[in-house]
């Protein structure tokens, strides 16, 4: 062994090696961008109907043009695309060959193709490596979906696609007044608990903050950690909770102001009250060790009946399907009212369309990409999606009356009870930087002895910085 490592390295070889090693450390950026300046940029290539417009072909796609789609392979899988949507599309257009690709890293696979000028036609932009949707829109790479929403639905007679959607869906994918993105999955957000655990202990869902802390005390007495979220990678769940409480206290406009980067949006009293209330829960009823854990670890603890309440979206049930014990019975509760003078009722919910799908404006077959979305938005497409993923879609009432799973039913019920009192925010996708800052600030508030005042000042400062930064395109709603 010592023969190999004889120290005959002199200064010269050393320098050479240093250069080599040093050189390897940096060029990742250049590598990834190695094709800037390449690619052609003739705009308006194909934004006109290329085929004949008819009742079965309202978007006028070219019937034999191939179509390429890329689906993110994550919690939802890809089966809904291959088993439901592609067959539906090919039933109408048997001569259009669909190339299907799936990936766990959307940006790695798709971004270079945008720079090179030959993007796939329809992309499911999702996952931890999703592309910055705002930047895509800013670069003119995203197709305007107005024609899609105006087209008739595939299988809901007499309605346009837009008419079949849950109100707010189109707006959720709007960037500066134009609908660019379809947010397809409909998510209800709240606190999840085990129906069995509650039944066995005779606990009920609290509506007021006093009842809430009483419930948490009861859980603590049973040796269960009453509340927790994963600080290592999912502080996002907790900040959704804090902002939901803020919206309930001060009305949904609180979130709108935050999205629009209004002055003082974060230092508002409602945000402060919500932050203070949850900071106390974090200090008294949670476990600081969760700060170092990942979402799957904390979720598993809940499945083992070691954690009482867990904040998450309605994807939780499907995500945990493998680890959930029989009879666990996932149930959703809306957040209890923080004050007795909350502007919104206790049933109010954070509910939003999520999971982005968009069509490449400079692809080879943008019309075909839109047509594919039309099939996803058919009733059959929506039912298939919900059955395969246990996730609701934005197609209103597509699965009404179907028993699919307890969590889904519970989420659906909560949504019904909320009525018009649902709200959501957009800043997290518009300004990723703000999202990152809020994650850190939330961890500080909940687990590292932060205070509501500090939280609000810190976020206001971050929002002001984004507002001032001219390199970031601003959005309004």
């Amino acid at each position: 062994m010592s023969e190999i490592f004889k120290p005959e390295v002199d200064r010269r070889t050393l320098l050479r090696r240093v250069a080599a090693v040093g050189l390897l450390a940096t060029p990742a950026v250049g590598m990834l961008s190695a094709c800037v300046g390449g690619g052609d940029s003739d705009d308006d290539k194909a934004d006109k109907p290329a085929g004949t417009v008819s009742a079965t072909n309202p978007l006028g796609i070219k019937e034999d043009a191939p179509l390429e789609i890329v689906i993110f392979n994550g919690g939802l899988g890809t089966k809904y695309a291959t088993d439901v949507d592609i067959p539906s599309y090919n039933k109408l257009f048997p001569n259009s060959k669909v190339t299907f690709n799936q990936t766990e890293e959307i940006s790695t696979v798709v971004q270079p193709r945008f720079t090179a000028g030959n993007p796939p036609d329809m992309i499911n932009n999702s996952g931890s490596k999703l592309m910055d949707q705002g930047a895509l829109v800013q670069a003119g790479q995203v197709q305007d979906l107005t024609d899609l929403y105006a087209a008739p639905s595939v299988d809901i007679a007499g309605k346009t696609v837009k008419d079949t959607l849950i109100p707010g869906t189109v707006e959720q994918g709007t960037f500066n007044d134009k609908p660019y993105v379809l947010n397809y999955a409909f998510t209800v957000f709240g606190l999840w608990y085990s129906g069995k655990l509650f039944k066995d202990n005779g606990w009920t869902v609290p509506a007021t903050w006093a009842d809430f802390t009483k419930l948490l005390d009861a859980m603590k007495a049973k040796g269960i950690t009453p509340y927790g979220y994963a600080g290592a990678n999912a502080p996002y769940y907790q900040y959704t909770v804090i902002l939901t409480s803020a919206a309930k206290i001060g009305g949904a406009d609180i979130l709108k102001n935050i999205d629009n980067l209004e002055d003082g949006a974060w230092t508002n009293d409602a945000v402060k009250q919500a932050a203070a209330a949850w900071a106390e829960i974090g200090a008294k009823y949670s476990d600081k060790a969760f700060l170092g854990q990942k979402h799957t670890e904390v979720q598993l603890k809940q499945n083992q009946y070691k954690v009482g309440l867990y904040p998450s979206g309605s994807w939780l049930e499907n995500e945990q399907a493998k680890d959930t014990p029989d009879g666990f019975d996932y149930q959703l509760m809306p957040l209890p009212s923080v004050t007795t003078a909350d502007k919104l009722p206790v049933t109010a919910l954070y509910a939003a369309a999520g999971e982005q799908y968009f069509v490449a404006a400079k692809g080879k077959n943008p019309r075909g990409g839109m047509e594919f979305l039309r099939h996803m938005l058919s009733k059959a497409g929506a039912v298939g999606f919900t059955q395969l993923t246990k996730t609701l879609t934005v197609v209103a009432g597509a699965t009404d009356g179907m028993e699919i799973s307890p969590g889904l039913t519970s989420g659906n019920k909560a949504l019904g009870a909320a009525g018009a009192d649902t709200f959501s925010f957009r800043f997290d996708t518009w300004y990723k930087k703000l999202d990152d800052e809020l994650r850190a600030a939330t961890n500080e508030l909940m687990y590292q002895g932060g205070s509501a005042d500090k939280f609000c000042t810190r976020m206001q400062k971050a929002a002001d910085a984004v507002k001032k930064d001219s390199s970031i395109e601003k959005f309004k709603r």
Partner: protein, 303 residues
């Protein structure tokens, strides 16, 4: 014979040079080019904005945080690793005293030498995942599981602002030590045994042997180790990305330049800004290497 020599040499070089030129030099030049633009990664057109990215960079708190973390790693990673590796390789080679005129390592040193090298064989991502488990804050973590047996509370290695970077540093050291043990062992192996014998005859203790014989004769090797480890201290991206809380957290307490480049590129789609960081990192690394070589210049002993 001279005839045809150049075509021969060129024939050998053309492929590696072409590959190096395309994948390293060209990529580098492009990173420099992009650092003067506000390119966001989705269009073929780029706008030049002069030094704006750099002025912004120098006012960026996170950037300075990352630089401070590199400074800390730069001091302690080489220090801990080299001290440990020297200690171990001394034990493996000379620590057993001399018998029959030959210096030997401690009992079983051949076996240890192989074991020490194991961490080098693991992919860095794997090491990160393993240590994330070791450090896990609940009783499922190796360390906290043991602490739990003795009834002491969990230590939040990665979740405590003051501990997180040190915890990651410990992993870097753990991973690096094996390689340098082998490197130093080789260096020690090439020190003629007569020198040790002579010193031993004069009554030198093991400590004197180490400081008066081994260390000076290893100087060249040590220098190499220092530069390599210093460069490793400018990286640390993989471990931080996989292990740290909230990527570079808690609250930026473990972030490094590599991670910030990645974040600006991947999450914020600020390719120009990320390239500017890359350029800064490039100059930092080069400066460090050049400086180290200057400062540590010292005539090595000819054997």
């Amino acid at each position: 014979m001279k005839h045809g020599r150049y075509p021969f040499i060129i024939g050998f070089l053309i492929v590696p040079v072409a590959i190096y030129g395309t994948f390293v030099v060209a990529a580098y030049l492009q990173a420099f080019q992009l650092s003067f633009t506000n390119w966001r990664g989705f269009s073929p057109d780029v706008n030049y904005i002069g030094f704006d990215n750099f002025t912004k960079l120098f006012q960026d708190d996170t950037f300075w945080k990352a630089i401070r973390h590199h400074a800390l790693l730069l001091v302690f990673l080489p220090l801990f690793t080299i001290v440990l590796a020297l200690f171990f390789s001394f034990l493996l080679n000379v620590g057993g005293g001399s018998k029959g005129g030959r210096t030997r390592g401690v009992w079983g040193s051949k076996f240890y030498r192989v074991v020490f090298f194991f961490p080098q064989l693991l992919a860095l991502a794997l090491v990160a995942v393993i240590f994330a488990r070791v450090y896990s804050p609940d009783e499922s973590g190796l360390i906290n599981g043991i602490l739990n047996q003795f009834g002491s509370g969990p230590v939040l290695f990665l979740a405590d602002k003051n501990l997180a970077l040190w915890s990651i540093l410990a992993v870097l050291v753990w991973q690096a030590v094996g390689f340098y043990v082998v490197l130093f062992s080789a260096g020690m192996g090439s020190i003629p045994t007569e020198i040790y014998e002579a010193a031993a005859l004069d009554g030198a203790t093991r400590g004197t042997l180490f400081f008066k014989v081994t260390l000076p004769l290893l100087w060249n090797t040590l220098q190499v180790a220092w530069v390599y480890l210093g460069i490793a201290a400018f990286d640390a991206f993989a471990l931080v990305n996989v292990m740290s809380v909230d990527r570079g957290g808690p609250d930026g307490a473990t972030t490094v330049l590599g991670l910030e480049i990645f974040r600006n590129m991947q999450d914020y789609a600020q390719f120009g800004y990320a390239s500017a960081m890359g350029v800064v990192l490039f100059f930092l690394t080069i400066t460090f290497a050049a400086l180290t070589l200057r400062v540590t210049r010292r005539e090595s002993v000819e054997l």
